[in-house]
Structures are given as structure tokens and as C-alpha cells.
């Protein structure tokens, strides 16, 4: 029996033993437990997204036939526009192929778009992430870029069986090299400026002196440009994202 003063320290000793054991646990076991614990709570995160879908469905059912007919007309107009765009795209693809053959250029990398719904948003000062409702079951690879109608959102950093985790462009952990259209000098982009009650932003560094931002872009210093992220107002529009994954096997760009 230990003296009382030592007995009180038993919780710390137990914690120490647990941490010591934890340090020597093989990586395989840690990876397995992490995947298991993620899988335990993944249905919870996805379930409320499905409940929202159901809610939207019943809300739509409450509309009158007149409202539905008007919406149908609008959708029909949109479909016509999109059909025309698809035709134009096909023509442009054919033109690109013709020029590639003519100039003997290597073919451009092609991507497959995989639309996915957002199950969970987690935007803090520490990280900015999304969980989407597609994963290994749709062949989503790690590193695939994620886009929406307004531009790039981020990239896939974790892929699970039915879900995938997206690191947003505004996350402090997000960093990439980019080029301005029409210029081949590399610039650096990093997310991480996420003030409360305001739109999150990223930072562009090492911008060549011959490239100037327009007046509409916010300036903090002459050599730094802050760029408003497309994920800045995700609530109304970000219910659906598209993951661009390479159509051929291999790592994503």
C-alpha cells in the first residue's frame, strides 16, 4: 500500500504509463483505430445531411402545382442553355484534338467531375475543412482538387469508405504554388486569414512586380495580395461541390 500522498499521484502515473504504451503502439494499430473511430461517427455526420435532404424534399412537396409548373419552366430554360453549352464544349474539344494532332502536341490531362454534397462544415481558426458525402465508393483520390461554380474550394486530404475530407483554400494548412494566367512565373498561395464574422481570406506571396492586382482586390502590402476565397460564403451555395479526379489512373494534380 502506497502512502496517501503517493496514492494521490496515481492518476498521473497511470496517464504516464498510457502515454508510454501509446508511443510504442505500432503505426498500423494507430491507423486502424483512427479509421475505426472515424467510421463510428461518420454516419452521424452524414445522417443529418440526409435528414436535411429529406426536409428539403418535403418542403418542395408543399409547393402548389402552379409554383412547381413555374419552376419546371425555369429549369427547362436552364436545361436548354446547358445543352447548348455541352454542344459548344464538344466542338471546342474537337478543335483542341484537331490542333493537338496538327501540331503534334501531347494531349492535355483530362479530369472526371464527381459532384458531391457537403455533409459537414468545420471552419475554425485552427483549420477549415469540409466533409463530403462521397469517398472510396466513388473512386475519389487523395489530393484531388475540389471545385464549385465559383472556382476552386480546396483539395481532398482524407478519403474514407463513404466520405472524404476536404482541406479548404482558406485553411492555414493549405499552401500551393500557382501561376497567373498568361504568365509562367510561380507565385505562392497560403490560406489562414480567418477573422471572426468576416469572410475568410488567403494570402498570395512572391507576386512578380509586373503583375498588378485590380482595384477591386484588397491590398495589405504592395507585394502581397489578399484574395477572397470562393469558400468565403459557403452557406448558400456550397451544398454541392465537385471533386475533380483524373480520369486515368495516377495521382491528382
Amino acid at each position: 500500500m502506497l502512502p496517501k500522498r503517493y496514492d494521490q499521484l496515481r492518476p498521473f502515473a497511470t496517464l504516464g504509463v498510457i502515454l508510454l504504451v501509446w508511443l510504442f503502439v505500432p503505426l498500423v494499430v494507430k491507423t486502424f483505430t483512427r479509421a475505426t473511430f472515424f467510421a463510428i461517427q461518420a454516419p452521424l455526420a452524414v445522417a443529418d445531411s440526409y435528414v436535411q435532404d429529406l426536409q428539403t424534399f418535403w418542403l418542395t412537396k408543399l409547393h402548389t402545382k402552379e409554383e412547381m409548373w413555374q419552376s419546371g419552366r425555369q429549369v427547362a430554360g436552364l436545361i436548354a442553355q446547358y445543352e447548348f453549352s455541352v454542344q459548344q464544349n464538344k466542338e471546342l474539344d474537337a478543335e483542341i484534338l484537331r490542333l493537338e494532332n496538327l501540331l503534334k502536341l501531347p494531349s492535355m490531362p483530362s479530369f472526371r467531375f464527381e459532384p458531391a454534397r457537403v455533409a459537414r462544415r468545420d471552419f475554425s481558426g485552427w483549420w477549415q475543412r469540409l466533409i463530403i458525402r462521397k469517398g472510396e465508393n466513388y473512386g475519389i483520390p487523395v489530393g484531388a482538387p475540389v471545385v464549385f461554380a465559383g472556382g476552386v474550394v480546396g483539395r481532398v486530404i482524407e478519403v474514407h469508405r463513404y466520405t472524404a475530407v476536404v482541406d479548404l483554400l482558406t485553411s492555414p494548412t493549405f499552401r500551393l504554388a500557382a501561376t497567373v494566367s498568361g504568365d509562367n512565373k510561380p507565385i505562392s498561395y497560403q490560406g489562414g486569414l480567418n477573422p471572426s464574422f468576416r469572410s475568410p481570406r488567403g494570402t498570395v506571396e512572391f507576386v512578380p512586380l509586373d503583375i498588378l492586382a485590380s482595384r477591386s482586390a484588397a491590398f495589405s502590402r504592395p507585394e502581397w495580395r489578399s484574395v477572397t476565397s470562393p469558400a468565403s460564403n459557403p452557406a448558400p451555395t456550397a451544398s454541392s461541390k465537385a471533386v475533380r479526379s483524373p480520369s486515368t489512373s495516377g495521382s491528382a494534380r
Binding site: 494521490q8 499521484l9 496515481r10 492518476p11 498521473f12 497511470t14 496517464l15 498510457i18 502515454l19 501509446w22 494507430k30 483505430t33 483512427r34 479509421a35 475505426t36 473511430f37 472515424f38 463510428i40 461517427q41 452521424l44 455526420a45 443529418d48 459537414r120 462544415r121 468545420d122 471552419f123 475554425s124 481558426g125 485552427w126 483549420w127 475543412r129 486530404i157 482541406d167 492555414p172 494548412t173 497560403q190 489562414g192 486569414l193 480567418n194 477573422p195 471572426s196 464574422f197 468576416r198 469572410s199 475568410p200 494570402t203 460564403n233 459557403p234 452557406a235 448558400p236
Partner: protein, 177 residues
């Protein structure tokens, strides 16, 4: 003493429920750029009301649960929650741990410690740490206000769950309703 003792499972289940609700709230608060963190509340019941063994199991499982989702080195939450748990166990005999008010105080201090510790770990990656700290303190303020409101409910929920299975949280003995 019963053959199967579900105390750790009750506390872990309650923590899972709270984790889900906080995640749901954060999902809806995403457009306001406010983030809630309630890690401090996970340790309160396990440390103040449960016995050492079951409290430790609940804390270890909760830590691993959080680590599986958050982009931190695996084991970080296990270490931090374990540290808070050990500290509370060390001093719990000296305090009126049955009361909700003391539970609130513990939850607030534990949450403060966890947020600051996590921030020191993660804020280094930020290109402008000063502005990151401003955001973290705003989030911390919102989280503490939330804890002030939900701690009595969360403690009562776990107490009620223990009552439903007719078990005393600390001794594990069967209690009559």
C-alpha cells in the same frame, strides 16, 4: 456489483452525442465564422463523478474519437484530456464535486486550458499568428458562453442515464429508484 458495468459506455455515449451536436452547431455557424469547442465538458463527469477506472476508459475513448476527426497528431486529444482528467482526479476530494456550479467552473477552466494548448500547437502553421489568436479568443469566448449554458444540462443528462440503468456512478452499486 453487477457483471457488466456500463458506466464508461454511458459517459462515452453522452460525449459522442455532445460531439455530434457541437459539430452540427458548427456546421450552421460556418457562415458566421464562429467555431465552438466544448472539449472541456467531456472530462467533467468522467473526472468528478465516475470512479477512476471507468472515467479513464471514457476519457481515452473520447480522446481517440476526437483525434480521429481533427487534423492534429493522433493522440493529442488523448494526452490533453488525460492530463485534465488526471489533474481533476488528483484534487477532486477537496471540492464539492456533486454540484452543477462546480461542474461549470471545472468545464470552463478545462476548456480554457484545452483551447490554449491546442492553439499553441496549431497556430504556428498560420501565416499571421496575431490575427489567428484574435479569432481563437473570439471563438473561445463563444465556446465558454455555450458551456455556461449547457454544462448543467449535460451533467444532468449523464446523471439521468445512470439513474435509468439504476447504477451509482462512483461505486457501481445498484441503486433503487
Amino acid at each position: 456489483m453487477r457483471k457488466y458495468d456500463p458506466r464508461w459506455a454511458i459517459v462515452f455515449g453522452a460525449n459522442l452525442l455532445l460531439w455530434w451536436l457541437i459539430g452540427l452547431a458548427n456546421n450552421y455557424l460556418a457562415s458566421s465564422a464562429v467555431h465552438l469547442y466544448a472539449g472541456g465538458l467531456f472530462v467533467v463527469y468522467a473526472s468528478l463523478r465516475l470512479d477512476r477506472k471507468h472515467g479513464l476508459i471514457a476519457i481515452v475513448l473520447t480522446g481517440l474519437l476526437i483525434d480521429a476527426v481533427e487534423p492534429v497528431p493522433y493522440g493529442t486529444s488523448l494526452l490533453l484530456l488525460g492530463l485534465v482528467h488526471a489533474t481533476l482526479l488528483y484534487g477532486r476530494q477537496r471540492f464539492p464535486r456533486e454540484g452543477a456550479v462546480f461542474g461549470i467552473v471545472v468545464a470552463l477552466f478545462a476548456n480554457l486550458f484545452l483551447v490554449i494548448a491546442l492553439s499553441f500547437l496549431l497556430v504556428g502553421a498560420n501565416p499571421r499568428p496575431a490575427s489567428a489568436w484574435l479569432r481563437i479568443f473570439a471563438d473561445l469566448l463563444a465556446s465558454q458562453l455555450l458551456l455556461l449554458v449547457i454544462t448543467p444540462w449535460f451533467l444532468a443528462l449523464q446523471d439521468r442515464a445512470m439513474e435509468m440503468v439504476s447504477i451509482h456512478p462512483e461505486t457501481g452499486r445498484r441503486v433503487s429508484l
